[in-house]
């Protein structure tokens, strides 16, 4: 407030107000952003995590022929969802060993939900009998729509948070004037200044990624956040359909003819797609009004190897299997949107690029985390009485503990629940999620009841223990212990187990550093020469 209307030199003024903007925009939704960043980071491996969470599904040693699988599942869907006006399946690829399909339920069955969904075994075509779990998709969905609330609310919260993030990034860059001079600067053991250097390092090294991921995150749901142009431009559903065709390979069911006619060979249709895009690069098969004379089938290209989510698909006449149209290009703006969307999801990645995504995204998580901690470190020095901080300080400090240390405990708790909950529990998948939130609530209670530093250390050790013991729990409760998966070359299981230990090491290191840390308080140190008010003046003093 002090800075609002004081006359001051222009350059300094802008940097100061941008610094304030950065601080408060970053803090206000920082906890939400941290949770979004961390769950989003983990979601880059959601398919692998889903495999790990369904240990009953065998390790896929070689990819099945997608054309054969498509036919098998199409036949099965004919019996599972008879008379459905539309079904759609995602074919197995290098990262998925099951076929996820959903369908609209036939009309004229009142009291039923409009959609059904299931995972199918590509080898048998039967519904998978693995334990009921949402798998890695829980983190994926939580990342942009949270839980226990209507998805639209969650998506709006995520959108507001992403917008705050965007403003925080831009204002942070303006504040940090010596971005290249300070590039490799780290001043060890200097309290607030070390935190600032760490925050700068993780932010600046990953800056292209952080900016990209924030902007593209907004783009993934832009039709929700900015519907005004669409509403002004399109008055009829037919016009709106024009737009949808630019965005998605889903073909919408038209009017059925009412005449029954069997679906032609789906296998043959997928074969044509394979010739065009490669044997393992068919993504999705969608059919409208299968079993009716007006049936249509769309076979879409997979996501590997092209940085775009723009629809590319072959459209077939369902009853004859005749190729009706090849959809391969969209308009410039739609293609831009497709590229940005793909950049966010990163599904085109080979495994090295996926790891790069994961690591830089983890740096983004650290960016938010160090920023949150810095708010506390900066203000602790100015507290009149460090033993009894004001209520705002107290709340931020506790929320930091719950968000940063507590979330690790809760996320690992979710994986423990996956192994420990009884197989026949009703609504088991939901209970895994309830466990996640119950554990998170417990860390909140713990953080409120314990002194701050003890709470940090204890929760970090709890996360360490849970992560370190998870591979052992896996060995005890499944047929696929680490030594077994290493011998088999099952890198999804071995990788997950080993990653648990790496992350346990990371949490242990953080716990040890925190336990050793002695915060520098005003009473224990000489009065500083330069006023420690903002990062901008701080850097000025350093120059």
């Amino acid at each position: 407030m002090k800075t609002v209307q004081e006359p001051r030199p222009a350059g300094q003024g802008i940097r100061q107000s941008m610094s304030d903007l950065h601080t408060w925009v970053g803090l206000l939704l920082g906890w939400v952003l941290y949770a979004m960043f961390l769950t989003g980071t983990v979601a880059y491996f959601k398919d692998e995590l889903s495999q790990w969470m369904r240990p009953e599904l065998a390790h896929q040693t070689e990819l099945p022929d997608q054309a054969v699988v498509a036919q098998r599942i199409a036949d099965e869907l004919g019996t599972v969802a008879p008379g459905s006006p539309q079904w759609s399946m995602r074919l197995p690829d290098g990262r998925n060993n099951s076929v996820y399909a959903f369908w609209r339920t036939a009309t004229g069955t009142p009291g039923q939900r409009g959609f059904g969904e299931a995972n199918f075994d590509p080898a048998t075509g039967q519904k998978v009998t693995a334990r009921d779990t949402l798998g890695g998709d829980f983190f994926y969905r939580f990342h942009f729509q949270f839980h226990y609330m209507p998805v639209i609310w969650g998506r709006w919260i995520a959108g507001v948070a992403a917008m705050f993030m965007l403003v925080a990034i831009v204002s942070g860059v303006i504040t940090h004037k010596k971005i290249f001079v300070d590039f490799f600067t780290f001043r060890w053991g200097k309290g607030q200044r070390s935190w600032l250097d760490a925050h700068n390092a993780v932010s600046v090294f990953g800056l292209p990624f952080h900016f990209m991921i924030t902007y593209t995150g907004l783009v993934t749901l832009m039709a929700l956040y900015m519907p005004w142009g669409e509403q002004a431009a399109f008055k009829t559903p037919a016009e709106r359909q024009q737009l949808n065709a630019e965005l998605s390979a889903f073909i919408q069911p038209g009017k059925p003819s009412g005449q029954a006619a069997p679906l032609a060979s789906v296998e043959a249709m997928v074969r044509q797609a394979q010739e065009r895009w490669g044997r393992d690069n068919v993504g999705r098969v969608t059919a409208t009004h299968p079993g009716d004379a007006a049936a249509r089938v769309a076979v879409a290209r997979g996501e590997a190897g092209r940085v775009s989510m723009s629809p590319q698909y072959l459209e077939f006449e369902g009853t004859t299997g005749r190729l009706l149209a090849v959809h391969e290009g969209v308009g410039a703006a739609a293609e831009t949107r497709g590229v940005l969307y793909a950049l966010h999801l990163g599904r085109f990645s080979d495994s090295v690029t996926r790891w790069l995504y994961f690591l830089v995204s983890l740096a983004g998580t650290a960016m938010v985390g160090t920023g949150l901690v810095m708010w506390i470190v900066k203000r602790r020095q100015k507290l009149p009485d460090p033993e009894r901080p004001h209520v705002g300080f107290h709340i931020v400090e506790r929320l930091n503990i719950v968000t940063i240390a507590g979330l690790s405990v809760a996320m690992t708790g979710f994986l423990w629940a996956n192994r420990l909950l009884p197989q026949d529990l009703v609504a088991r998948a939901n209970w895994e999620i309830h466990v996640f939130f119950i554990v998170w609530l417990l860390t909140l209670a713990h953080a409120v009841l314990r002194p701050a530093k003890k709470a940090w250390v204890e929760q970090l050790w709890a996360a360490t223990a849970l992560l370190a013991l998870l591979p052992i729990l896996n060995a005890v409760t499944t047929q696929r212990p680490l030594w077994h998966s290493l011998v088999e070359g099952d890198w999804v299981f071995a990788g997950t187990d080993l990653m648990c230990w790496v992350l346990a090491g990371l949490h242990a290191a953080l716990a040890i550093r925190t336990a050793r840390h002695r915060p520098k308080l005003r009473s224990t140190r000489k009065p500083s020469r330069e006023p420690v008010t903002t990062s901008a003046t701080l850097r000025k003093g350093e120059a």
Binding site: F183, F184, F205, P208, F209, F348, L356, Y357, V360
Partner: protein, 97 residues
């Protein structure tokens, strides 16, 4: 082989760029390097990074190439930074005894 190659190029590039910075020269060597050496290091570093970009773009095209380049640069900059911190710590400890 393009991933390890561009990774090494980025690592070399950032190492050269780090040694071209005054603060790092003082931390690691204890003095400033001559201006000509600093300039040579800066050019060599920039060239190594550009070469890494070239390798990735030639391999995967601009879209995927730029994405991979961004990942490699972020990771290697982080590695160089952590190494610098580590060596400065070792140096500080050694000079204390």
């Amino acid at each position: 082989m393009s991933h390890p190659l561009s990774f090494m190029l980025c690592l070399a590039g950032f190492t050269a760029l780090a040694f071209a910075m005054d603060r790092q020269q003082h931390d690691l060597i204890g003095r400033s390097l001559p201006a000509s050496v600093t300039r040579a290091l800066r050019i060599a570093g920039a060239c190594a990074l550009l070469l890494a970009l070239g390798v990735l773009v030639a391999w995967q095209g601009w879209g995927l190439g730029l994405v991979m380049f961004s990942g490699h640069t972020s990771l290697t900059a982080g590695i160089v930074h952590v190494t610098l911190i580590g060596s400065a710590r070792v140096y500080a400890r050694a000079s204390k005894h």
